[in-house]
């Protein structure tokens, strides 16, 4: 493992969690000494049962929540860079769009908050919308869109700032399977085009294997890393990967790990 002193070394992680513990005021130990490196360019999935602290970990990485103890380091971001300089995109489980604003204005928001005028970002916003296939809907309001389309707007909003690190918290959990498959492919395509590093939270074994280069399986009560599975299948991946023996074998492995993680949590409670 590279030492953290070589801050700008080519393989230093984008973000490193070291012994991150989070306990809430009500006594819940949401995360117990979580240690995790996110390498540049990787697609990391956090897979685990509900309540194992996946969202909490993501919020801590985003700076929306702070660890009770432990450290979050940004070795490649340089000293003293503020949370906003770290260039993070966040996609929530719900599309989280402003209902009173058009699709264009929703995607404009992150840049608008940085003081950029509408005229100066028109190309950037339209480019983001084109990448998610919604350029024709720039003037529509969120209520006029389907669930999948709203999620795409949310994606466009996350990518318009050209983030280095994209955090996604079960973004497709509420969508039907067909839409989810489509969006999975879109995510892979966008990652290839834009060179994102992604941390993706899911409780779907199939989704995590299809998308990830590495899966971290988490267990609950207290939330912790339980197992880690590499998915050394080259990209681009497409529908034929979904039916390959490799895919089936990896799904079985991940599923077994998840089952064991849930049993481990169950034993401790019992």
């Amino acid at each position: 493992m590279s030492s953290s002193s070589s801050a700008a070394a080519p393989h230093s992680p984008v973000v490193r969690l070291e012994g991150v513990t989070k306990s809430f005021a009500n006594g819940t130990l949401a995360l117990d000494r979580l240690t995790l490196d996110v390498a540049p360019g990787e697609f990391l999935s956090l897979l685990g049962p509900s309540g194992c602290g996946k969202s909490t970990a993501l919020r801590i990485i985003a700076g929306l929540s702070h660890p009770t103890s432990g450290r979050v380091d940004w070795p490649s971001a340089g000293e003293g860079a503020g949370a906003h300089a770290r260039s993070i995109g966040f996609v929530f489980q719900e599309p989280t769009l402003m209902p009173w604003a058009t699709v264009f204005n929703n995607v404009w928001l992150p840049l608008r908050l940085k003081g950029r005028s509408k005229a100066s970002v028109r190309d950037a916003v339209m480019d983001a919308l084109e990448r998610v296939g919604l350029a024709a809907f720039a003037d529509a309001y969120p209520r006029e869109l389907s669930g999948g389309m709203k999620m795409r707007v949310s994606l466009a909003r996350a990518l318009v700032t050209r983030p280095k690190l994209l955090l996604m918290d079960e973004p497709f959990a509420a969508l039907d399977e067909i839409t989810r498959f489509k969006l999975n492919n879109d995510i892979l395509k966008l990652q290839a085009e834009l060179g994102w590093t992604v941390v993706f939270v899911t409780h779907s074994v199939f989704e995590s294997v299809y998308l990830s280069s590495r899966i971290v399986v988490m267990a609950a009560r207290p939330g912790r890393v339980f197992d880690e599975i590499a998915v050394p299948v080259p990209r681009p991946r497409n529908e034929s990967f979904r039916t390959s023996p490799d895919y089936v074998a990896l799904c079985r492995e991940a599923s077994d790990a998840l089952t064991r993680a849930m049993q481990a949590a169950g034993r401790e409670v019992a």
């Binding site: 929530f92 402003m98 009173w100 350029a135 024709a136 720039a138 309001y141």
Partner: protein
Amino acid sequence: MAADASAPAAANRTAAPTDASVWRDRVLRVVVPLVILVLFVGVWDWYVRAYGIKPYILPGPFLVAETLVKDWGTLSGALLVTIRITVTALLLALVGGTLLAILLVQSKIVELALFPYAVVLQVTPIVAIAPLILIYVPDTQAAVLLCAFIVTFFPILSNTTQGLKSVDHNLLNLFELYGASRWQTLVFLKIPAAQPYFFAGLKIGGGLALIAAVVAEFAAGSAGAGSGLAFRILESQYRLNIPRLFAGLILLSATGVVIFWLTSLASHLALRRWHESALARET
């Protein structure tokens, strides 16, 4: 650009319901209330004629209309006074209520300090405070205006405060993530999110402003200097000029309807693109 290729699809998406059904709906909206009105006036007129009711008990509708025209000089002057007080009170309450609401949600201390007193002011019946206000404020018009303002202020304050607080937490997180300032969060997030609540407050406030203007003027009535519609109604009662009383009453109702219509229109125009309350349910 890819947008051009799929533009027709986007245009299709907003296709309106057929013109015919829209027109049918509009005509019904006007015709049905009109039919009811004509029926009502007809029965009223028939009753007064058939039973020979004296005009100082219940004047017929045509006598009331005649009075309305004959006394238009006096009545229109009074109407203007009442409208001016109502509208001024509503505008002051809009500005004051909204500003105070913004202040309340910026600081917990300010909210703790001020909100209970706003409630006290609201729950004390205005008729009971009016005599005091009339003593302390020498100018009757100003006193009536103050009463109307106090009554109108609260629904706008409490609705807007509620609205400013009812912001989607995920959106708040998003704003925080992108480093939004307090001011940006207020302008781009909290104020737009509060709009439906604000307009609900406006509709309630509009109606209350008129009611309070009338009540306060009743309370001021004997003080003499009043010349709004409420004063004219009282005066007509003393002089047993019942047709004029009815004429004044009709003007008051009409004013109330117009205020309701205007506030509803403002609400509709502001919310029609996005808020559920302003959308026609598509079937």
